[in-house]
Amino acid sequence: MINLLSSNWHAFISGFGWTLLSSVLALFFSLIIGSLFAILEVVPSKILRIIGNVYVEVFRNIPLLVITMFFYLVIPLYVVKINGFTAGTIGLTIYTSAFIAETVRAGINSVDIGQMEAARSQGMTFWQAMRYIVLPQAFKYVIPPLGNQFVNLVKNSSVLAFVAGFDLMYQGNAIASQTFETVNTYIIVGLFYLVITLPISYYMQHLERKLA
């Protein structure tokens, strides 16, 4: 196993890097998109609420692979040629943003309604109150579930392997089929994933216990 690791070190590390990059990019963008849709779900306007709701329900109930393959196949057909990494990261972002929207919405709802009312009665607009009063308090509740979303993102980024995204899973498959050391290769790939996911999920459990 050590031999396998050292002779394919470069491929493992580059796969690890692409996996990490894709997960971080997807987290960043899905946080922005997810928060926007979460706010849409709580605004006074009914039409906006419906839009927010439909977005969340649609993308939460369709497999990530379907979303990712769709972008991988359809964007090059009509818009621009993109590589698997980009298509995969777009798919991950959209899928995760629906889950983050749910998480952030739950966070917003857990902030006492009096906070919003007090801010509004002080003359703030809905958006000002949201931005300066409600969201900062909501994010505190939301950190442990967001951490768990990041763990899911790292695991889900393995779908990049379907679209030749150069990620860890993709590299692992390439190495396994070259060396025929299937079992050892997959164990090493698993260890690389665990290096990211285990510490984060243990830390989030610790945070959850502290907040509870």
């Binding site: 109930n61 369709i62 359809v74 692992g172 994933y193």
Partner: protein, 217 residues
């Protein structure tokens, strides 16, 4: 131009629906097995049996934090090295069951922890054994609290079966690929049809879960 009319010919739609039935079959078998194994593992982890609970807890944490896709690869391409070569559908069911059992074990454990500890203590004080108290008093209350989490886990299981397309399990995603593989003009219609089929099944389940939760509360 995308060819919607030919893409939605009865032969194609029937083929997609056959895929959907395999998706549902795999999901249902896996969820039943995972529920059984997950309950046992969750209770063992909760019971704090010396060494055993710690070891099982660690295994649960490790497998939960791996991508399901990796486990599918491991089962299908790795196990033959140990002299066990499952067919595609059993391999998918095995991989899903291993992964989902660990997810469900955690749901069960936190469900049990959410039941007031006094329930267990009172039952023990009445002379019940640990197993009796667990079975007759704690678990019925715990399962009630867990229904939403269990259903949403089942929904992600259904969505995750699409990953099994990589080992050519004839489920919905794989059948979809066969259909749009015939003609690039089928891509969008087929994706819309696949998305709709997954959506209907998953969304119906989430509505059911909300309904049950609402009635129990």
């Amino acid at each position: 131009m995308q060819n919607w009319i030919d893409a939605y010919s009865w032969i194609n739609i029937r083929f997609l629906l056959q895929g959907l039935s395999v998706t549902i079959l795999i999901s249902v078998i896996s969820v039943v097995l995972s529920f059984i194994f997950g309950s046992v593992l969750g209770i063992v982890r909760y019971s704090k049996i010396p060494y055993l609970s710690k070891i099982i807890g660690f295994i649960i944490d490790v497998i939960r934090n791996l991508p399901l896709l990796l486990i599918i690869f491991f089962v299908y391409f790795g196990l033959p090295a140990f002299g066990f070569k499952p067919d595609t559908i059993p391999a998918a069911i095995l991989a899903m069951t291993v992964f989902e059992s660990m997810m469900i074990a955690e749901i069960i454990r936190s469900g049990i922890m959410a039941v007031d500890i006094g329930q267990m203590e009172a039952s023990r004080a009445m002379g019940m054994t640990f197993t009796q108290a667990m079975w007759h008093v704690v678990l019925p209350q715990a399962y009630k609290k867990m229904i939403p989490a269990l259903v949403s886990q089942f929904i992600s299981l259904i969505k995750d079966t699409s990953l099994a397309t990589i080992i050519v399990v004839p489920e919905l995603m794989q059948h979809g690929q066969v259909v749009y593989g015939q003609d690039p003009n089928y891509i969008i219609p087929v994706f819309v049809a696949m998305a709709l089929m997954y959506f209907v099944v998953c969304y119906a389940l989430s509505l059911l879960s909300k309904y049950i939760d609402h009635r129990m509360a």
